[in-house]
Amino acid sequence: MAKIGFPKALYYYLYYPFWQEFFTNLGHDMIVSSSTSKAILDLGVKETVNDACLPIKLFHGHVGDLASKVDVIFIPRMVSVRKFATETFCPKFLGLPDMVHASMEDLPPVIEEKIDLSKSPLELWRVCQRIGKEFGHSQWQINNAYWHAKKVQHRFFKSMENGLTAEKAMTGEKKKYTKDKNNLKLAFLGYPYLVYDNFINVNSLELLEKMDVEIKTVEMVPAKKLLAQRKKLPKDLFWNFSNRVMHSCLYYLDDEKVDGIVHVTAFGCGPDAMVDKMMELESKNRGEVPFLTLSLDEHTGNAGVATRLEAFVDMLKIRREKQ
């Protein structure tokens, strides 16, 4: 049975449970790259085209980390995960396998199956069939693994909706935050690979928890309510994660009111240039909700982010007392 490598970056934080269950159910070993660290960052910066954003550089670093440890690396070409106007993932996701191939040599074989679920509701099943057949499994085995994986993924999404962060939901932790009504409620919005990667965001989530702030993320919005925000925008954005962030921002502004919004974004992120401005304008127009943009890059320091978050939270506290 093969050792399959999964880079702990980008789509890992939303779709890993599915693939983990699928491959282990078929009897393979799943190996995840080590958590992001300085070493991985340096490796990524070395390998990647210099204009790419931080998350893409990190992805290359994670692939490099896996290269010597596994038989196969799983780098699906994520095109779309739902039928939603012209929505796809960011172009950098679409060209990811090609970018990795062009800049990194001596890689083990790569599974770069295209995942374009807007085509039909059966598409994921077909993708699984194709991948499974390549490993020589029977249709029955693959079907079985597919259904188990679906179930696991569903449970994963549900537990995030119940207020767990991606990492806690993956380890199967049950404990919820102690909800104190007096606590500040802060929407910590951004792409999952920034919000849940503690290295890039220099432990912001932990820091906020210590300040007794109740954190709300994109994934904690119930799926139906998230989708319902769509009609508030004149035109859908083109990128899956961006739509999710934008919709969750509207949800936290209108439906489940929060005290403030923090938008985490990577330096030089293309889609976020649009999303960030939209969020800023919406927060201003929908009840003057305080809004902070946290821009992260490879030089982001612990102290700088901590100071800004502390100042923001302090300001929110003062604001609440006044009201």
Binding site: C90, L94, D98, H101, A102
Partner: protein, 368 residues
């Protein structure tokens, strides 16, 4: 009504004529450093250069009294398709009174949306649809003539004996075309414009280098955005070929699904549409290499997503096909001198390469 539109290369000549024919008063703002500063001030920091330039021109046009701005949309995943929405939000936030109408490329049912918007624009002055179609065809013809002239200029410039003559003749040619109003007049004007260019003193014994220009459409087409790359290269004695033109772009992305040959050529390196002109950049580089071009210059706005992906893949194309590529990322900080130095160095490099190839050919011949 005073109407404005995105300024892009020479296309404003054709758009202005169309708008005048429809009974509107066109407001044309040629971008300058002031425009860019204004646009940058109100744009998100990481928005691409075209976004900032366009916002600047819109704001200046509104100052001049424009009430309506017409622009095109897109289906992504390039950011350009969302410009209209965000521009409108920023203009509203500034408390200005102007409406942006975005013409989306028709897909399935959205063709009615497109027709509706056109209907709105032409019914403001009670123009009939049949007339509109006639005027539209005229505008299209002029746009094509302008493109043809510009390509002609690129062919002539490397041979000019006095630096700057071609550029001057080009301006004259534009004026000739601007005056033409009917189908016949445009045809005549095209011929006259070509004659003006032919009269530029030339030294036909030269063997200019050939460089292809690829990249994001706005920065390729608008000389203000790319610091006149084509002129600089031409005056260095290079024959420039531009891979995209506005007529080619609109006819391709509006009517067909894209240039099939280019996309096919890109397939060994990238087998997925990534928005903007990302896949075209790769396919065109392959085609330029096959057609014996000496080099390729890639132009892109800073932080342009599709072009970054393309840039990440291009080194492989360079290695496989032996065609040098120079990538220039442009933003509001880019200086003209920096661009010129890099282009000069690149051209020197290509000259060396060609010289060495020639010497080697001769050596082979002697050995035989």
């Amino acid at each position: 009504m005073k109407v404005s539109f995105p300024y892009m290369g020479t296309s404003h000549i054709a758009f202005s004529m169309l708008l005048r024919n429809l009974g509107h008063e066109p407001v044309v703002v040629k971008p300058t450093q002031k425009t860019l500063t204004l646009g940058t001030q109100y744009s998100p920091e990481f928005a691409c250069l075209p976004f900032k330039i366009l916002l600047g021109t819109y704001l200046e046009a509104i100052e001049k009294g424009a009430e309506l701005i017409l622009t095109s949309g897109g289906i992504g995943p390039c950011r350009a398709g969302y410009y209209g929405v965000l521009h409108q939000k920023i203009i509203d936030d500034l408390g200005l009174n102007a409406k942006i109408i975005v013409f989306e490329p028709p897909r399935n049912l959205s063709i009615f949306d497109l027709l509706n918007k056109i209907n709105y624009v032409i019914k403001l002055n009670k123009i009939k649809w049949l007339d509109f179609i006639h005027y539209f065809k005229l505008g299209w013809q002029k746009l094509k003539a302008l493109d043809e002239i510009e390509n002609y200029v690129h062919k002539i410039r490397p041979y000019e004996t006095n630096k700057g003559d071609t550029t001057q003749a080009f301006e004259e040619a534009q004026k000739i075309l601007e005056k033409a109003q009917t189908k016949e007049e445009i045809e005549e004007a095209l011929q006259a414009a070509k004659n003006v260019l032919d009269n530029v003193p030339q030294d036909k014994s030269r063997q200019p280098l050939k460089i292809g220009i690829i990249g994001e459409i706005y920065v390729v087409l608008e000389p203000f955005a790319n610091h006149h790359v084509e002129t600089v290269l031409g005056e260095l004695g290079v024959e420039v070929h531009r891979s995209i033109s506005l007529t080619g772009y609109t006819s391709n992305s509006f009517i067909k699904e894209g240039e099939q040959d280019v996309i096919k050529a890109a397939h060994p390196y990238l087998n997925q549409l990534i928005g903007g002109h990302g896949i075209n950049s790769i396919g065109e580089t392959v085609l330029y290499a096959r057609h014996g071009y000496d080099g390729v210059v890639q132009l892109a706005p800073f932080a342009c997503i599709p072009e970054i992906v393309a840039k990440g893949i291009l080194p492989k194309v360079q290695k496989d096909l032996g065609i040098p590529v120079l990538t220039l990322f442009l933003d509001e900080q880019t200086g003209k001198a920096g661009i010129e130095t890099r282009l000069e160095a690149f051209v020197d490099l290509l000259k060396q390469k060609r010289y060495r190839a020639n010497v080697q050919d001769k050596l082979v011949a002697v050995n035989l």
